[in-house]
Symmetry: C2
């Protein structure tokens, strides 16, 4: 972690307490990971940008936790166990110390919850909006990482939890929808990475739903050279999402930021999937089937007709 | 790598050709690193921000290469061998395809030169300035990473190459200095990471000079609980830096972005260091000595008097 006068003080005060043993106390140019001949490292990076992925007025502790959790979700999608992370922060020079304190406190909460620690990173100023980037490290037994490829014709399409809450939470933030209980806004602010589920022997393929169900299921289809046929009514929606009404169905199917899992599971392992879900504290729902055909996602409505979803998926571009 | 419509196209066109085997063709949520029981992974992350670390008008291929090289320099500081990297790009929506093409072309040049490949990452839009973050992976034999701690009293302070060129290059960019050959501007735009030097058996401690010689040597002092006494006149400066005159001496000693190495080397290994430098194509210069005392860097001028350097070091804050 390159340091300068203010950075050095910031790191010492706020981030050194978060450092794990591999981080060399954040005093070196890099972290050294242990030799682990019995495990493979799985690595991923995701960025959150102020004004794109979060609002300037969002509490810094929740921004920090969302940053960590969207990356943890990539580990969940690979059926990996969290190990640690590197963090780069670009923030305006005028950012008060309180902001860093709250940001680090949020990281501390989720480090404890998910069992990982800070390995290093970089802090710098920016003349623009806050730009956060996190690289996450997990481990898997060799060859056991769950990939996007591998779905087979006849596999069920399964999703964890409920779908669409985060996109509706964003609509709430924009004033387009009421949210009397605050449930939808919370689902947008603080996703729940689906870790701790032993899926490697159960699912043929999987991904997390970051860009929208249709979009991310499409990735599984492309990786397998298969189509997927799903029923809109079978897609699990929360009470709050159902209360939003049919006008928001497309939002639920194509909106991003849920960080639930979408999996390809063969029929004979559906019982094992439900058991893994019960043990891990999340329900899985079967919403359709992978079928032979060009890699598209076919969505049927309650009337049996294909739904037109437009471009589908959430685009940050 | 989370993808959406435009991101997917950008990644396929520009970044997939850069991907290594561990990257799973950039089609998955994370990269899986091989099991390497005989090597340790060394990881580091550094960000470059438009308007802070580079100028909007800088050629994108050189920005990409600088981003990769400042991170490679962290591997050089640990005496590690490059393996791969994750990249997060936050760029304005209006960024033309040409920018990405040039950026990726720069990465390709340096991937080939330094022997590493892209493992994954994230692309997103930003309403602000371009924010680039790169996480680099290297490998070392177990226990052989060169750390900042470990300097001993009596160790020589050595630096690679010439010091101060990049800070003078920045002064050139700001119109404060002439640069008839373009040498100084090039040293600012395209640092040379000092890789491929087998330093683990030679140096007691080391760091790269990213924040300025005095600042980064100060890190070695703090990590060892030692002082360092250096002679300003012994600090190697390029012909162009000497031509800038004595008014720029402090800039050379405290300016950042050189990405040379500063090392603690015991007297009996100085010959081995010079030999390693000859084999690796870079000269090492002895500029002073680590001594018992509080962790400060004492700089003496040609007259034998202590130089007052102000706060010292380059601060991005």
């Amino acid at each position: 972690m390159a340091e300068t006068a203010r950075e050095f003080a910031l790191i010492a005060r706020h981030f050194r307490p978060l450092a794990g043993a591999s981080a060399l106390d954040l005093a070196d140019d890099a972290a050294v990971l242990p030799v682990r001949g019995d495990r493979q490292f799985v690595v991923s990076a995701d960025a959150l940008i102020e004004g794109v992925h979060f609002f300037a007025e969002d509490p810094p502790d929740l921004v920090a936790r969302k940053l960590l959790r969207v990356n943890l979700s990539d580990l969940a999608a690979m059926a990996a166990t969290p190990y640690g992370y590197l963090l780069t922060l670009a923030v305006p020079r005028t950012t008060p110390d309180d902001w860093f304190a709250a940001f680090a406190a949020g990281l501390a909460v989720d480090q404890a919850q998910f069992g990982l620690s800070l390995l290093g990173g970089d802090t710098t100023s920016t003349p623009g909006s806050i730009a956060l980037s996190l690289t996450i490290f997990g481990t898997v037994a060799p060859g056991q990482a769950l990939l996007r490829s591998g779905a087979q014709p006849g596999d069920g399409v399964f999703v964890s939890g409920t779908i669409g809450d985060a996109a509706l939470g964003l609509a709430v933030r924009r004033g387009a929808l009421a949210d009397p209980t605050g449930f939808l806004a919370r689902r947008y602010l603080l996703p729940e990475p689906r870790l701790g589920l032993d899926l490697a022997g159960i699912a043929h393929a999987g991904a997390d739903i970051s860009d929208g169900l249709v979009q991310d299921l499409g990735h599984l289809c492309r990786a397998a050279g298969l189509a997927a046929a799903i029923e809109a009514e079978a897609v699990p929606r929360s009470e709050a999402a159902r209360a939003a009404g049919p006008a928001f169905l497309t939002t639920c199917l194509t909106g991003g930021d849920d960080y639930e899992l979408v999996l390809a599971v063969p029929p004979e392992r559906e019982g094992a999937l439900h058991q893994a879900g019960r043990e891990g504290g999340v329900a899985f729902s079967r919403i359709g089937t992978f079928i032979a055909g060009p890699p598209v996602v076919q969505v049927r409505g309650a009337d049996g007709q294909a739904l037109a979803l437009g471009a589908g998926g959430w685009s940050h571009f």
